[in-house]
């Protein structure tokens, strides 16, 4: 459980930066070199490399060790875990509110019934 939380923390930390999100979006279309990834940004190669290191540490990307140009690949698994985690909270509230809505109907029906009974009792008197 703890390691799962740590993993999520590092995923969210990596995703907190817009440049890194843009890099991931670019990698979703296929592998790319550091030079390719740097192109859309007004950023030096070392600056982009820094971002890549954060993404690599969070296991959001993989870098080839074999090819000379060391292409980067997207690793989607931590994204799915982070997304599942967020989904849990959304689901929690959506479903709780659905249940609350249903339960309120039951409560309202119940509060109406005793009122009628009370009235009948009074009528008898």
């Amino acid at each position: 459980m703890q390691s799962g939380t740590d993993k999520l923390n590092s995923t969210f930390a990596a995703l907190a930066d817009p440049t890194r999100r843009a890099i991931l979006a670019r990698l979703a279309t296929g592998e790319a070199s550091v030079q390719d990834l740097a192109k859309p940004f007004r950023m030096s190669l070392p600056a982009v490399s820094k971002h890549l290191k954060v993404l690599e540490k969070a296991k959001l990307i993989r870098r080839s060790r074999t090819a000379q140009w060391r292409p980067c690949y997207l690793n989607a698994e931590p994204l799915k875990e982070a997304s599942d985690w967020m989904e849990q909270y959304r689901k929690f509230w959506e479903e709780s509110f659905d249940r609350l809505d249903e339960y309120l109907k039951v409560l309202q029906a119940e509060t109406k019934k005793p009122a009628k009974r009370a009235k009948k009792k009074n009528d008898r008197k």
């Binding site: 930390a13 907190a16 479903e95 249940r99």
Partner: protein, 151 residues
């Protein structure tokens, strides 16, 4: 408001019941246990003290038999319009639930969940920042990846 917007999740729901009833559905454990949690979950209350600083300790039982301990500390209780609490155990996030009348027989519930920050002395969880934007990014990425069959 704007300083916290990037680490908030918000949701709003209008329910078909007058505000006093909705308030009691939220503040009486015999009612809460009937609706709290996703489908298939049940809740057992261990302690409930509805006042600022009071504790609400409960266990949620998942449909697969897994138990989830919850530790809530109430921080504000203003009948019939506002409940605020810190929801733990870990990570602790701050929740506010606002009850507004929406006509005679309807109540608007506005819920905000605020994720922890550095000011709460936990540097690691600060990184939950910008969660909503991230979720959108994640969803888009996931959709995209799913459409490519790589997930």
């Amino acid at each position: 408001m704007s300083s916290t917007a990037d680490r908030e999740i918000g949701t709003t729901r209008v329910v078909n019941a007058p505000r006093p009833l909705v308030w009691s559905a939220w503040t009486d454990t015999k009612h809460i246990e009937q609706w709290w949690g996703p489908n298939g979950f049940t809740t057992t209350t261990r302690e409930f003290n509805l006042s600022p600083g009071g504790k609400w300790l409960f266990t949620m039982h998942g449909p697969d038999g897994t138990d989830y301990r919850n530790d809530v500390t109430l921080t504000a209780v203003t009948e019939p319009e506002l409940i605020e609490y810190d929801h733990g155990p870990s990570p602790v996030f701050h929740v506010s639930v606002r009850f507004e009348e929406d006509g005679l027989d309807r109540t608007k519930l506005s819920m905000r969940m605020l994720f922890p920050t550095k000011s709460e002395r936990d540097r690691t969880v600060e990184k939950f920042g910008a969660i909503e934007g991230q979720l959108q990014t994640l969803n888009r990425l996931e959709e995209y990846l799913a459409s490519r069959g790589s997930l």
